[in-house]
Each structure stands twice: as structure tokens, then as C-alpha cells.
């Protein structure tokens, strides 16, 4: 849909097409959906921010993204507490398509179980999981 497929090397990936960028101290992570996810959805027309302070649990949905025809759950790749939400994405959800790893980030969480990262995929493993 928007641009070429890309899967940055510095991110970790969840099989439900979500990514996590974990900070150097392994205390916090930024979450979003992958290029594959936004491409499959088509143009995102609605994203409702979850509440700051709410808990997210690995493998469970914490938000919904809506394209014209479909509503899809956004699954948390890691567990924690939401400490920041991207208000700009709620205003202009199209940035999820335009820049899914940058301007299109969704939430930041304080990790409750940093060890969960071991279950996530690196970029090469995620790309392999997508097949061709």
C-alpha cells in the first residue's frame, strides 16, 4: 500500500504482526504494527488510544485498528503498563500506513516481564514467517 515492505533490524517482532522497540535499559518498549499488518489492513481510518496506566499482557489485544472494511485487534508483544500513547495517530491514523515504525508508533509501555523478549522474533525470523 504505502511504499516498500520494510522490517527494521533493531526491532523485535510478534507473530500477530506487531513490533517492539526495547530501550537500552530494557525497562520500556515502544509498540506498533508491522508494515505487513498495515498493508493487509489497507488505509487505517480509526485508532482509539488505550488509556495511559492500563495494563497490557503479552499475546493479548490492547487496542483495535480499523480500516474501511475491517476491525483488527492489536496484540501486545510484551507485558507492561502503558506510560504514553501517540495522540497524533488518533488524530491522523493514516500515519500508521505511511510510517509504521516511526510516526505511526502506538504506545509506550513500562515492561513488567522484560524476559518475555526471548519469545519474540528478530527481523529475519519474522520475514521468514511471512513466507512469500
Amino acid at each position: 500500500m504505502m511504499g516498500e515492505a520494510s522490517y527494521p533490524e533493531d526491532l523485535l517482532y510478534h507473530a500477530e504482526h506487531d513490533w517492539a522497540r526495547i530501550d537500552a535499559a530494557a525497562q520500556e518498549a515502544t509498540l506498533g504494527i508491522t508494515w505487513y499488518a498495515q498493508d493487509a489492513l489497507g488505509e487505517v481510518v480509526f485508532f482509539e488510544l488505550p488509556a495511559v496506566g492500563s495494563a497490557v499482557r503479552k499475546d493479548e489485544p490492547y487496542a483495535e485498528v480499523e480500516s474501511v472494511k475491517a476491525v483488527s485487534d492489536v496484540v501486545a508483544p510484551l507485558s507492561g503498563e502503558i506510560i504514553e500513547v501517540n495522540a497524533a495517530v488518533a488524530e491522523n491514523p493514516h500515519v500508521i500506513n505511511a510510517d509504521p515504525y516511526g510516526e505511526g508508533w502506538l504506545v509506550k509501555v513500562r515492561l513488567s516481564e522484560p524476559g518475555e523478549r526471548e519469545a519474540l522474533m528478530d527481523a529475519a525470523a519474522y520475514v521468514a514467517s511471512l513466507g512469500s
Partner: protein, 368 residues
Amino acid sequence: MSSSQKRPLLARTPLFERHRDAGAKLVEFAGFEMPVEYEGVTAEHLAVREACGVFDVSHMGEIETSGAGALALLQRVLSNDVSAIALGVEPGGTFAGGAQYSVICREDGGVLDDVFTYRLDEHRYLTVSNAANHARDLEWFRSHADGFADVHVSDRIADYAMLAVQGPLARGIVQALSDSPLPARMTAAFRRLSGAEVLVCGTGYTGEDGVELLCRPEDAPALWDQLVARGAKPAGLAARDTLRLEVCFHLYGNDLMVERGPIEAGLGWCCREHTGFIGAEAVRAVREAGPRERLAAFEILARGIARQGNEVLGGGVVTSGTMSPSLRKGIGLAYVPSERAQPGSELEIDVRGKIRSAVVKEKPLYRK
């Protein structure tokens, strides 16, 4: 997110390769593999509102009814007064026929389809059906033709591709290809567009000016290319849906169905019971008594999108819902109890467990 895709054998329109080459997102729709989005629904939608978009709607069906008995049959199967479809002769002797919207009803008034009928000649009419209903409509026409002398019902779905060119610049773009002036709104006539014979219809499904073009399938790709080269932006089914919903045009299968009649759908204006169409008695009874529910247009008050099937608290159901690119709000249509269908009436809609407040608005929801 997760998804699984089954891949049944799907029909393709003559423009399938154009869509694929343009990078369209393709989906199954009524048995066809159709473009839902190219660049994105918002850009395509706004192109139609502000300039010009072109849609491949070749999945639509066509039924030709001809012969001296054609009018009599159509008066039975179509709800509108088909005798009111004008037939004019243009300078040069070509016919320009009128266009008319109707529903097709069962005896009980349930809606089988909503269709446009174009008059091609004195005793020749072309009815454009919804893809999913085409076979049923054709069978319905044929099964009711027996009682009429000199009427022929032909399936023309394989003979026509259909392009909708819509938006304030649409007529100018099509005119530049045409050998003579385009027919006015709500009329239809054959023209040569870059040499190809095309039925040009002054109709559409977007609330914008524009035309719908019925051409031979083999002529469709070159026509598409010329329209795009002159500035028509390819637009998919997603934009077609947001455009029609902003102006509150019905979508069969969402807002119209056999379980509901035309009066509750707000389509009494296209029902002329005096013609004796199939279902006229049932429609008259509902018109006189007043329907229990009515199709109301609504806007979501804060944020969110109601979707087809969401329940209205206290009675009622959403039949269409989307994010309006022009209004930047959640909008939709819902059947609600008649006493709650007036503009200003507040509705609460259960959207997957979250209650969203909405207000009933005048139709259409979008005006220039």
C-alpha cells in the same frame, strides 16, 4: 492481527490486469475479484468529491427487456412508473432515453434488488442489477414474462463492462473522448468514445456529477487508460462505499434486503402502487399504516465507527457504517423504531461492547 484467506475461483473483470498492475488491494466481492483500494480510500474519495475518479463496476449485471410487451412486464417487476421514462430523439435522429431508479419487490413487499433502468429505444430497456442479485433478478424477470406477449428478456452481463466516472471534472474528461455532447443527468444515449460504442448514462452512486459508461468488455482497458491519462483517479470499492454512504444511497445486502420493504427503507418515492407492480398491495398497506421502523442516517457524536450489525439500544440495528472521509466522523444508516428516526433523535449504539452515542441527521449526511 490475524487473517486467513480462502481462495475460491473468482470471476475477473476485463480490467483485472489494470488493477493488479496499479497495486490495488483486491478482494472478493459478489464472486468477483475487485479492487477495494489503490492508493488509499481517503485520497480516492476526495478525488471524486473534488476532481474525478473512475471505478470499475463491471461486476454489475445487465438485463435487457425488449419487444412491444416490454413496458408491461417492467411495470410488473419494477416499483417505479416505467411509462414515465422519457424517450427523446436528438438532432441527427439518435435516441436519448431516460433513466429511472426502482426496487424489485416480492408479493409481500420484501426487496429483491434495487436497480437502474435505462430506455435504449422505444421498446428496449436495459436494467442494471447488483452483482449478487443478478441471477435471481433475471430468473424473476423471466418467470413473470410468461403472461406477456412479445417480450424478450436477455442476460447481457457478458456483453458489458461498466465504468463509473464521477466527480466535478468527470463530464469534461469523458466529453473530451466523445464524438458528440454527453447526455444530460438522468438520461442515457450511445456515443462513440475514441471510436468505441459506449452507452453513456448520466447517473452515478457518489452524489457527484458524472457518468456511467457501459461498453464492450474488449473496449474497456483502452477506455480506462484514456480516462486515467486525462486525470481520472482509479478508485476502489472502499471509496465507492464511503461516497454513497455520505449521500445516503442504499446498498443492497446492507440497507436493503428481502426481510424489509421499500417504505421503511425510505424508498417510497420510487414506488408507484397505481402501476400494479408485484408487491404494490403490501407496499400500499405499509405506506398507509406507517412502518414500525425506518432507516435513519446518523453521525457518531464523539469518536468511533459503528458497523453493520451493531445494535441500537432500545431497538434497531446498524446496516451500514463507516468513517466519512469528507466529514471526518463515523457515519451510518440504521433501522430504528419510527418514533426515534427523526433528525435530532439521540441513539446509543453497541459497538463491540462499547456504547457510542450518535444523533440522527437529515439525509443526505454530506452536501456540497
